[in-house]
Subunit: 236 residues, 2 copies
Amino acid sequence: MKHQEVPVPFCDKCAFETGAIFRHLGHEEADIINFEKEFRQFRRGELLYNEGSRISGFYCIHKGIIKVFKTGLDGKEQIIRFAKPGDIIAYRSVLSNEVACTSARVIEDSQVCFIPAEILISLVKSNSTFAHELLKLACHELGEANSFITDIAQKTVRERLAEILLLLVEDFGLDEQDYLQISLTREELANIVGTATESVIRLLSEFKSDRLVELNGRKIKILNKKGLEKISNVFN
Amino acid sequence: MKHQEVPVPFCDKCAFETGAIFRHLGHEEADIINFEKEFRQFRRGELLYNEGSRISGFYCIHKGIIKVFKTGLDGKEQIIRFAKPGDIIAYRSVLSNEVACTSARVIEDSQVCFIPAEILISLVKSNSTFAHELLKLACHELGEANSFITDIAQKTVRERLAEILLLLVEDFGLDEQDYLQISLTREELANIVGTATESVIRLLSEFKSDRLVELNGRKIKILNKKGLEKISNVFN
DNA sequence: CGGTACGTTGAGTCATATCAACCATAGTGG
DNA sequence: CCACTATGGTTGATATGACTCAACGTACCG
């Protein structure tokens, strides 16, 4: 299937709209990126890059959703985070000059810009505000990773599933009918929570019996946010 | 008990010896830190800072070991990492301007330098190499956090315990008799692995029966590293 | 000598993983 | 148009890893 012709977004306009980190750049700097970047389109299921590979640049998401994951034992995925418009991925490997520690795959048809590594490095060198913002970003992610470690280590699967549902609501929002604006397979949900697919299925249908959610295939309708918060123990 | 009088270390000498991040500073910059820093001593059990508090600076470890942890449900600790000479802690909160997402407590009597937040921020602004090194540091930690998430989510307690023992060997080394150079309570071990104290005790004594380790109170002697590697599944 | 913190062991329970079977759906190719 | 296949979802039965609770031992300390 051929990709439709789509206009390539301008970096400073896109950054302004999506809140991407490039909003901290001057016009000339944004122009450099705009000139050097490569606009790419991907369909659900396509792989952007693979764990263990050396990476020559990083990606800024213009549209769509990408999952960032590690592959553990017997190939089981652990989803680390999702990237949505305005987010950048693979910057970790570029900045630390290590091979990719994660893979990235498209969840929802995406448009992304690929930006060569040198550009990022030189911006860090030349624009200290940008460097500071990148540090904030990395440090913030680090804080989230630490919380997630504690959750996985201490909470039950049931608690974590409720929490993840709420996090997804935060990140992707609900439509007019309170349906979660991201569509995941049960297996993907399991790979965030860190459990078996069957466990997610069983717990979801418990949540359904308890009138916390409604299920229509992959579409999940949030009926009782307070109830989910209570289960997830977010306030401890 | 009174603290002994100890000479305050010079930053560039200390950075050179410990490999602290300040080795990327010029002499004048190191002098600024040297002038502004506050040298402090702590004994095992003392708290450096507490989760949720706003922090006015960060710490560089000169001597000793600090545990960095989050407090989860019912006050159970999750140890996130250890800091040893040359490491800095609390820089995350300073850079992201968020409250501390972890607490820090002394594991082994320590000497640390407290450096005001403004100094770090201004160095990030003025020295782009330093900023880049900080980014590398944060990104590297992020990579480790991601691995840890995957491990906790996918490995058994047994595998994780073996892995943690090996990580401790990496980080703190063995003495002439192959004893691990860090002394932790069973509870602390459990709080790294993310399990119950009793489980650690049982598994350690299994490891002992299998001639993988020898136990003398808190001292752990590593008898068979290969065996532990095999159990930990590190090569998958 | 009592107190406190840590370590150890046993028994019982439960949450969760695993295994297996089955259904639904959609895309494919003859 | 109909098998054919692949993928994802669901459910039940069973197994078990790990937690919890409880009791007790040990060691150090004032």
